[in-house]
């Protein structure tokens, strides 16, 4: 059963049992004030109403799954970073919350499941969230207030949009657009607008340089990124994630193991991984917020929940980037049977994220001119070479093999 049919069943059930009686009761209470567009209860009875409700459910489920993953990713990053640096990471957040509760309640609760509650640090994200919400939202006096507010909204909304766009498996998908990956990349490239907006509107030189750097970086890396993706699209003949994954699974087998795209298109895979790293602005490509010279880059002037939005959006983008890499090159949700495909997919995504975390804490940041040089002079030709190889594999070789009966390699 796919996610959508499950949601549809749930929508029918909730509509029949709960929503329609409630709306009917409400309309019965105030007959003169009924909805001019017609009765909601009637609309929920129709197929269109049920479908709309089902979409709502599906999107919410995908969003909830994404947000859960976000919290896990942030916690994972903190813990792995700590272990790399010979630290412990967050260890006492549960204890702190409990002490806070004791202070508020005035007495200690009787239950206790661990001595000192040391080692439970996952609530640190909650604590950070509470802190961010509790902080004052400062708008600089000379900032452009409208754009200043719009910047984080553009950035976070385009990022959250990503969460519902990629499928966790062929059945667990909130959206199933045939041009799925193109939509994802389109959503990815909205972010520079938000970055530039907030960098400009802050009326701060650091923010402006950060915004400019960010825009330059994202634009120059979009081209090799899309070119390296083009190889995969050519091979699958579609933008649809489901088709791409099926193509990888169905392609040549090597002792019973499918050859996923990262083997024939190794150059493309490398280029894509570098570009997506730059696209989600992680070390070594986090120049726009290089804290050593630009304080915090384009987020310098932001405080409270707005700053939190930027941080969250970056992790969401990282998660989405890893998911795209998995779909394109690592066989998506394909994997041996007993483990469900969703778990396979998340495992691969998390492996990529862990790899990124290790990179982030192992290498320094590179310079603006170097990053642009790398993008234009190295990655762009490499991605073109990759595209040529794929064209040779997909178009030219089959064409000639038909004429001169070459052995079937690809």
């Amino acid at each position: 059963m796919s996610l959508f049919s499950f949601c549809k069943w749930m929508a029918e059930w909730t509509a029949q049992k709960m929503l329609i009686p409630i709306f009917e009761f409400q309309e019965g209470l105030f007959p003169p004030f009924t909805n001019p567009a017609g009765s909601i209860a009637d609309w929920l009875g129709t197929d269109g109403g049920i479908t709309t409700l089902a979409w709502l459910y599906a999107v919410n489920i995908a969003f909830a799954v994404g947000m859960t993953n976000l919290i896990l990713v942030i916690h994972l990053e903190r813990k792995i970073a700590a272990r790399i640096q010979d630290r412990r990471g967050p260890m006492l957040s549960f204890r702190s919350f409990r002490e806070l509760g004791e202070d508020l309640a005035g007495s200690a609760p009787s239950w206790k499941f661990k001595e000192n509650y040391a080692g439970i640090g996952i609530l640190q994200n909650l604590a950070d969230g509470i802190k961010a919400i509790a902080k004052e939202l400062i708008v600089p006096a000379k900032a452009d207030k409208f754009l200043f507010t719009m910047g984080p909204i553009i950035f976070i909304s385009s990022s959250v949009f990503l969460l519902v766009l990629f499928p966790l498996s062929d059945r667990f998908a909130a959206s199933s657009a045939p041009a799925g990956l193109m939509v994802i990349m389109a959503a990815f490239s909205i972010a520079p607008i938000g970055v530039l907006t907030s960098g400009w509107a802050s009326n701060n030189k650091y923010s402006m340089i950060g915004g400019m750097r960010s825009a330059a970086q994202l634009m120059s890396y979009e081209i090799p990124l899309l070119l390296s993706m083009a190889g995969v699209f050519l091979m699958a003949g579609s933008y649809d994630p489901v088709v791409i994954v099926e193509q990888q699974q169905a392609s040549s087998w090597f002792f019973g193991i499918p050859i996923w795209n990262f083997i024939p298109q190794f150059i493309g895979f490398i280029v894509f991984m570098i570009c997506i790293l730059a696209e989600v602005e992680r070390v070594p490509f986090d120049l726009p917020e290089a804290e050593a010279e630009l304080v915090e880059g384009w987020t310098t002037e932001y405080s409270g929940i707005r700053y939190m939005f930027f941080l969250m959006a970056e992790y969401i983008r990282g998660f989405a980037g890893a998911a795209v890499a998995t779909i394109l090159f690592l066989g998506g949700w394909a994997g041996p049977w007993p483990i469900p495909p969703e778990i396979w997919f998340l495992t691969k995504v998390y492996l990529i994220i862990i790899f990124w975390i290790f990179i982030r804490w192992s290498v320094p940041r590179i310079r603006t001119d170097q990053i642009l040089e790398l993008g234009w002079k190295k990655l762009l030709p490499l991605s073109l070479i990759n595209l040529l190889i794929v064209i040779f594999m997909v178009e030219i070789y089959p064409y000639f093999s038909e004429i001169v009966s070459l052995p079937e390699v690809f």
């Binding site: 792995i80 700590a82 272990r83 790399i84 640096q85 010979d86 630290r87 412990r88 260890m91 006492l92 000192n116 040391a118 290790f358 990179i359 804490w361 192992s362 290498v363």
Partner: protein, 258 residues
Amino acid sequence: MKSERDLGIMDIIVNPMKVTLKQFFKSTFGKPTTVMYPLEKRAPPPTYRGMNAVIWDLCIGCGICGEVCPNKCLKMKPVDLSDEEQDKAWYGSHLAKRKSKAERPAINFGHCMFCGFCEDYCPTGAMTMTDFYELADTTREGLIYPARSMKVDLEDAPQLPLTNYMMESPVLDADPCIGCSKCVDNCPTNCIIMDLGPQNKKMKSGKVRNVENPYFDYTICIGCSTCVKVCPADCLHMEPISNSSSSGLSEEGASNEA
């Protein structure tokens, strides 16, 4: 001067990552270096300079600790000694009886920088520094520790010979001395006695008589310069005379710690 090796493609990501990966496994399956602060604490060494404590039985109220404090965060405050404390007090007991009130150090930890001079220059080893360091408070007033709160009792406080760490002792310029014996009254170690002066003096009234002059026992003088301060005729000044051959600032002070 060493020549670094030429770098290859592995040195971009892979070789640095080997180091971090190794550390990751080391601290995941072993014990990380950091300690969970409120739950575990690292043990300071025995020489640690933490919060001060004064062994009142040894304190003679000389005020040297306040004198050498660079921040002037240490002041001598008058306190009422109980009879028991009066009995147990070592050198300072006579001073406590003579003056209306004995003086003991009080510290403003808001100004203290824990340099340890008060401990080093204390002539009797009464001033010690403990290994307690969690002194944070929410108010400035909370950091002012009155004299009595600094008191510690030690069962067998060693009564060491008095040492002059100040490296100076008072010297009398006999001419202006009026023989008021204020210095004797205020000396914390009883190292001054009044005796007949070297020669007779002619008084304002015209009489000629021998004025009593102070004489110093430099073996127990601690160089606190209290006598210089109280002298009404400015006839005393400090000169580099020390009572001990080896000065050893605080060798004993370290072993004395509570």
